[in-house]
Chain length 361, copies 2
């Protein structure tokens, strides 16, 4: 429970853990002969991008035009916006496409028509497939619709249809390696059948969920992996089984402002505006973060404490009786986030253990 | 489903609705002879602060030192930080106390001691009471502890103990006027008994929950009301009964990027990074926002559509079959937020219906 000169809620980044996570995923991609275009939506950081570049990454994935602009400004030249293209933003798409090799997702005819009429520069296109996550994309079983869309895309001069993208978001509901592997395998099979029957062999196939990319060893048909969360991981990923708690690369550092002996609760400055409201259920109670030791050099081991309540600025942490006695008003405590992407988005910046500020969009 | 030149997720502010909400609460405070020190954590906006000043507000409530600084810079001179004082931030507290009449909450002896040793300027103190919300503050039944703390506070030269603050946050779990009034009355009674038995008559008593301040007519013993959310209200407040949906003063405007006919779902650019993850349960399903009409001049009536899923940038809205046919890819749709404070915090800025940008900390 060191202070580290921190006085306000601060998102600490453990560089060693993050760089290990990056190296491990880069190695996995290389070992399987896969392109590695990591998703930058988790860290949204130029500095963290440098660590990925150091592992050989040249192409990246983002989820908004704003993110694409942020990383284009930093010199990234191969950017995929893995979000159904927003046809209201053609000016920004044209500007981006004039600067970088841009790839967008086109999942419907309306979007294809607007791109046909308004594109100034060449753009690559992937079609998103919904292999079970029920968010966006076309069901791979709908081969006629996919064929029709590909025909139209191939008839548009400024579009280069490259292949498919799919986010197996339903792996997030799994627990354990076996379950993740089964969901991943079943989803991939649906896509591979469509690719084979449709005669699309050789098309790109981008797949990006962190549980799958962390736990699966069979990537048949996949050309490119695009995970993002693996750089930091978090409590949700640890619960799924994608990582151990010792791999989680970010932790909130929060001031203790009050103690409630009767309930063994401590109140921290650290609320929904810092952590986000994402939670998991532990012992029939919501859990918004897990107590963790902070040393002078990095994030330590987890402790017996859970963030059980969040309001705008307040966090309520339930701790063991023994810990309650050791934590004092005015201490700084560490908390592993449930969902690191949203915590980083709330905090808009990091601090490493040497005290350096690290950027976030 | 007008476009209004909006191309990206935008938080629209309906000035007429907000100013009506402000005028109504200011009148209620005046009618009951209460001081009105509204909480600025909801809007966090200098411009909205001007509308409150126009109704005679001179003292304000905030929930962080950063907010206090933001509004001190704008010229606000009477600021209460309604959060257990963070004793790690004494430099900032001293700077603030040198510029404005600052009031802080002190709920424990540790905090009192640090203030005693480190304050450079005079500061007002309120003791927070926990009348049932189980977040922070001292149980009003613990009269001895309260007495002891007051004695200590009164012995500190630079502190001026003024009275008590309590947030009846448990009114947020109520449904309907009768329930809110009962919780408010019971909570207030506990405090009034403590004040009477302790001989603290004449002490300030600040109370601030929006359900209570909106629905209660009996404020016996209260000197000051400090609600915040009432400026905007939201779906959560409408559900509690604090307001009608026609009073909700902010709505997200989001681009439609995809449609799923089989599930009657539309996908919008508008996710957890825009709305926050706060939700209510409707028909056994989470609801992250409610479809609403947007006209050229303001927010309109609600429609049969609910945001049933959010990921980082995606929102999934379930709509009626009839509406599904009318909404197209490339439209802008309006969504009332579940919790306007957190949506405003995510968006970090507003746009009014004349197209003007409105600031947010």
């Amino acid at each position: 429970m060191k202070r580290m000169n921190i006085t306000h809620p601060t998102l600490l980044l453990d560089k060693r853990r993050c760089q290990n996570n990056i190296a491990a995923m880069a190695k996995k991609a290389a070992d399987h002969g896969l392109q590695f275009k990591p998703h930058f939506k988790t860290h949204q950081s130029k500095k963290v991008g440098e660590w990925l570049a150091a592992e050989g990454v040249t192409g990246i994935t983002v989820s908004s035009i704003a993110m694409a602009q942020y990383f284009a400004d930093e010199g990234w030249k191969d950017i995929t916006i893995a979000f159904p293209v927003n046809i209201l933003a053609m000016d920004e798409i044209n500007t981006l496409a004039g600067k970088v090799e841009l790839t967008v997702l086109v999942n419907n005819l309306q979007a294809a028509e607007v791109l046909r009429d308004k594109l100034d520069h060449e753009v690559n296109v992937l079609i998103e497939l919904d292999a079970g996550s029920k968010r966006t994309g076309i069901d791979p079983g709908r081969r006629e619709d996919i064929n029709e869309l590909i025909n139209i895309l191939q008839g548009i001069l400024k579009l280069k249809w490259k292949g498919f993208y799919s986010h197996f978001g339903h792996t997030y509901k799994c627990r354990g390696t076996a379950e993740v592997r089964k969901v991943f395998k079943d989803s991939l099979e649906k896509i591979n059948i469509m690719i084979e029957k449709g005669g699309f062999k050789g098309a790109d196939l981008h797949i990006g969920d962190t549980p799958g990319c962390s736990l699966v060893e069979k990537f048949s048909g996949i050309t490119t992996i695009t995970p993002g969360n693996f750089v930091f991981y978090d409590v949700m990923q640890q619960r799924i089984g994608s990582c151990t708690s010792e791999q989680v690369g970010v932790a909130m550092a929060c001031p203790v402002v009050e103690k409630k002996e009767k309930r063994c609760e401590i109140t921290i400055h650290g609320g929904a505006v810092h952590f986000s409201k994402d939670s998991i259920i532990v012992n029939d109670e919501p859990c918004f973060g897990v107590l963790v030791n902070l040393s002078e050099t990095g994030i330590g081991s987890i402790e017996n404490g859970r963030l059980v309540g969040l309001s705008q600025e307040h966090g309520t942490m339930k701790v063991s009786k023994e810990l309650f006695g050791r934590i004092n008003v005015g201490d700084i405590i560490g908390v592993l986030p449930i969902h690191s992407c949203l915590t980083a988005e709330c905090m808009k910046g990091y601090q490493d253990f040497e005290g350096n500020a690290i950027d976030h969009l």
